[in-house]
Symmetry: C2
DNA sequence: CCGCGAGTCTACAACGTTGTAGGATTGCCG
DNA sequence: CGGCAATCCTACAACGTTGTAGACTCGCGG
């Protein structure tokens, strides 16, 4: 079927290896030989068999990306950024879905040989926790993403959760708000996006001399729109007063905003709102949603670069490194106040 | 580094081929031999080298999915569905982004050997048009998705654009609306989502005896939220009257809804709205968005199945087939009226 | 007791590529 | 004109797997 080196060699009247050399831009080839080979390649429509190449070289040129679900906007946008970053470096991306926080499936991905067709893995767990860190000690190049596990045995690229949540909260405070609700807490969590962002929230309060009121924290299981809506409904029913809200991600914030509006509250006048993630959606919601840009592009780019370094470096003895992306507060209508 | 068949064979005291046979569940192996081999496999942590396997077999077990961008929600959800469907069939998915409608890049993907590491391709173009159909005549298994090209040389899985757009329009008519605006038209387009859905819209009007008023059609270039907003702004400024709106996709509809609300119009009282795609977002917007479920899961499942058939069938002589997924009208608040 | 088939296992070749080693040719200097 | 290095090219082996062909054992019927 498909032409091989052999066919091209035959057609061009040279050895297989010479054709291989032409393809790999080997220096010492006579111009006319090269030309003849090129013509034969064109004529036969030859293109190298990557399976054979990768068997020989031990590299596939493909990296894996394991995320919970692409239908979660954050991960879709992350995947977009990763694919783009990988392409710049000549890599392809094979995507694996672990399900929305299914710890067992996440562990299985780490063990099983299913993605042996890849040179390494970018792994963004949602169900695993810090105690599972030792599972990350695998014998293939692995770069960890997200905020579920810190201090693990691998390179780790993450966002500045605490600091950026503190900045988000401080932003609301700078607008004169003092009673700031939070939506998206996870009970008892210390590490993980929810735990870290709550800590940032508390730090900002402390810095401003505002006492922390546990009644202002809305807890959820997942971070979908519906959870944001439910959580906000509970806060309203509890009767606690607040003049601002920090949504631990944009999706939660948008769900909560909807409930606020249904309840007749004006945003930002009655309740100022800020989210987290800088999803495209927030740019077009009513009102547009203030948010934190967590540096997604930087995260993707760093992650791919670091993974590629691990792949090419044979000495795996460089100790694990941590990378934190730069964040940015983005003010839109939902928190636009005299300040 | 990694153990090979040879290592396992040595450890178990059998031939390489026997180990291979054990792995591939060959029938005639003595129980104790099998056991010994299994133990050796476990002990050495052996897992097969997929490059070698695919070199031998000519199959990689990976399919490619080429979509414009994952940050477009529709494609993110499509990718989710495709990956899930592929996994059920034991396939992995390598995702390639063609950019938001970049015809040149789409053509390049079809020619270049970049995804030679795959057994076949699911291709969802956005920039190509029907005249480019011949480019689809490639020498690898290819299944076309979307509504840019019909009657091409490959299998094609698509949604029922005309019929479902007709149903969406008919839904608004059944709610007593007669002046129905459309957002998302593409000037001069006949084939393509915009052209087909506009045709469905016109058919519904005709069936109801409502004359088609070109002034009610809002044209856009892309189908992002911003375009929906701009288009709706233009409609409002033009002074044309309408009591309903059909957004050619949910994203457009959400953008347009926002402008309607800013203009002080109530949904659905003043303007009833329906979108298209059944994105998760529409479930939580304010008001929730009526829409068409175009059968995304069915599309993904069919596409993967058909591609797999083409891959395994050596006789490529089965003529190209067309598949149309079943759609469904989903009524939510944005069009909930006495009817 | 021979022959035969089923069961169990093995040796060898091949998939298409690239690294290694080395052979042939050319050009240049002494 | 001989010698040596640079240039150009080739043969062979190897990457790890599986298909093919066949060797060997065993039990059983003739």
């Amino acid at each position: 079927m498909a032409a091989t080196l052999k066919d091209v060699a035959l057609a061009a009247g040279v050895s297989i290896k010479t054709v291989s050399n032409v393809i790999n831009d080997y220096q010492h080839i006579r111009a006319d030989t090269k030309q003849r080979v090129m013509e034969a390649i064109d004529e036969l429509g030859y293109s190298p068999n990557l399976s054979a190449r990768s068997l020989r070289s031990g590299r596939t040129g493909v990296i894996g990306l394991a995320v919970p679900e692409l239908s979660l906007s954050y991960f879709a946008e992350l995947a977009d950024a990763v694919i783009t970053a990988a392409e710049r470096r000549g890599l392809k991306v094979l995507i694996e879905q672990t399900g929305g926080g299914d710890r067992a499936r996440e562990l299985e991905i780490l063990r099983s040989p299913r993605l042996q067709m890849t040179d390494g893995l970018l792994f963004s767990p949602l169900g695993m926790s810090n105690e599972d860190a030792h599972y990350l000690d695998v014998n293939f190049p692995l770069v960890l993403l997200g905020e579920r596990i810190f201090g693990g045995p691998t390179d780790h690229v993450t966002m500045s959760n605490v600091e950026s949540a503190r900045a988000a909260t401080a932003h609301l405070i700078s607008k004169g708000r003092r009673r700031i609700a939070v939506v998206g807490g996870h009970r008892g969590e210390v590490i993980g996006s929810a735990g870290l962002r709550l800590r940032g929230y508390q730090q900002a309060l402390e810095e401003a001399g505002i006492p922390f009121d546990p009644a202002l924290v809305g807890y959820t299981t997942f971070w979908h729109r519906a959870n944001g809506a439910t959580s906000m409904r509970e806060l309203l029913e509890s009767g606690v007063e607040f003049d601002a809200m920090f949504g631990m991600n944009d999706t939660l914030a948008l769900g909560a905003m909807r409930v606020l509006q249904e309840a007749g509250l004006r945003i930002p006048d009655d309740v100022a709102v800020i989210g987290f993630d800088d999803l495209d959606e927030g740019r077009y919601s009513l009102p547009t949603l203030s948010t934190i840009d967590p540096g997604r592009l930087e995260i993707a780019d760093t992650a791919v670069r670091v993974l590629q370094e691990r792949i090419s470096r044979r000495d795996g003895d460089v100790p694990p490194r941590e990378f934190e992306a730069r964040y940015q507060v983005i003010e839109r209508e939902s928190s636009a106040l005299p300040g």
